[in-house]
């Protein structure tokens, strides 16, 4: 094979490789840059008025950080799954935190009163916590390990298997 032909073959191969790499990603696959990095800090006012919930107070625990709103139908569908997992894991150093997103705190309180769930819920402060995590749309859930690093993220309503698998990844390995 001449050098010219070899160069052409090499160029075409490189081009196809670049396209394959580029199109491997779905442009609608909205990936967060937060995964694999230390979880952005937050300190938010609880919906029940009992103070604040701050990430630094949860150090050493696995955190399931769920962004939700009362106007979000998939959040309503997802909520029983969260309640079920919370009842199974709340003694295992796994903490759930709900962050009310672009919603009125009164609506958030009514949401949790109606659908259950006793984990701390707080109102986002002008959407700043959601922006710091790279939230695209709710429901959206981040899984933070006991080391404070974001281990995973799920966009859309969680099902029981997905939530359980994600919690098993982040929960501290201590006897339950």
């Amino acid at each position: 094979m001449t050098r010219g032909r070899a160069a052409v073959v090499l160029a075409i191969t490189a081009f196809v490789l670049v396209l394959a790499l580029a199109f491997r990603f779905d442009p609608h696959d909205l990936r967060s840059n937060a995964v694999g990095r230390p979880a952005p800090a937050f300190a938010l006012t609880r919906l029940d008025g009992t103070g604040t919930v701050a990430l630094r107070e949860l150090a050493g625990k696995a955190v399931v950080l769920n962004f939700f709103a009362s106007w979000c139908i998939p959040c309503v569908q997802e909520h029983p799954v969260l309640v079920s997992a919370w009842e199974r894991y709340w003694t295992a150093d796994v903490v759930f935190v709900g962050v009310l997103y672009q919603d009125d705190p009164a609506n958030g309180r009514e949401f949790t009163r109606r659908l259950g769930g006793t984990w701390p819920t707080a109102a986002d402060d002008g959407g700043r916590t959601a922006l710091s995590y790279g939230v695209f749309g709710i429901p959206e859930t981040f899984f933070i390990g006991a080391d404070g690093v974001v281990k995973g993220r799920h966009i859309g309503p969680l099902d029981d298997a997905t939530l359980t698998a994600a919690i098993e990844v982040i929960r501290p390995r201590t006897p339950r």
């Binding site: 075409i12 990936r31 840059n33 937060a34 710091s132």
Partner: protein, 153 residues
């Protein structure tokens, strides 16, 4: 008024206009607008945080305004959004991002193809026939011509 005087007066007028038209220092609101125009609204189709009417875009503008008020640099504000959303959040991603390869690859291919075609064309161009300079060949030819002439006689 002489011609030189008119030209000088026009020059002074142009300078005065340019001086009065120059923009003043950028206000905080203008800076928020400029930075927000570079940021992609995550819940919109190709709209910037400045142009989108969505609540998320409004939150982004408010966050930019907070950072501007706190004295953060443009790069620091952009980096904060990029830390959360990646380069995707920039309406004009950095040229060195992997996606830039998709844009650069066709240019490289076209350039390489042109270079190859030029080289091929040069090699394929007709070559002038070599002049006969070999003495033995000339002698053979002369002999054949002489033989032919002798036969004609």
């Amino acid at each position: 008024m002489s011609r030189i005087g008119i030209i000088a007066a026009l020059g002074v007028l142009a300078l005065a206009l340019a001086f009065s038209a120059r923009s003043g220092p950028e206000t905080a609101a203008e800076r928020v607008d400029r930075i927000s125009a570079d940021l992609r609204c995550p819940v919109c189709q190709g709209l910037s945080a400045r142009d989108s009417p969505s609540e998320t875009a409004r939150d982004m503008r408010n966050m930019v305004a907070l950072r501007v008020a706190a004295g953060a640099t443009d790069d620091a504000i952009r980096d904060e959004f990029r830390a959360a959303y990646g380069d995707w959040v920039m309406l004009q991603p950095p040229l060195l991002a992997p996606t830039g390869l998709v844009w650069l690859a066709p240019l490289v291919l076209v350039g390489g193809g042109l270079a190859w075609a030029l080289r091929y064309a040069r090699q394929a161009s007709p070559v002038a026939p070599a002049l006969v300079s070999d003495d033995a060949a000339v002698a053979t030819l002369r002999e054949r011509v002489a033989t032919a002439e002798a036969e004609d006689r």
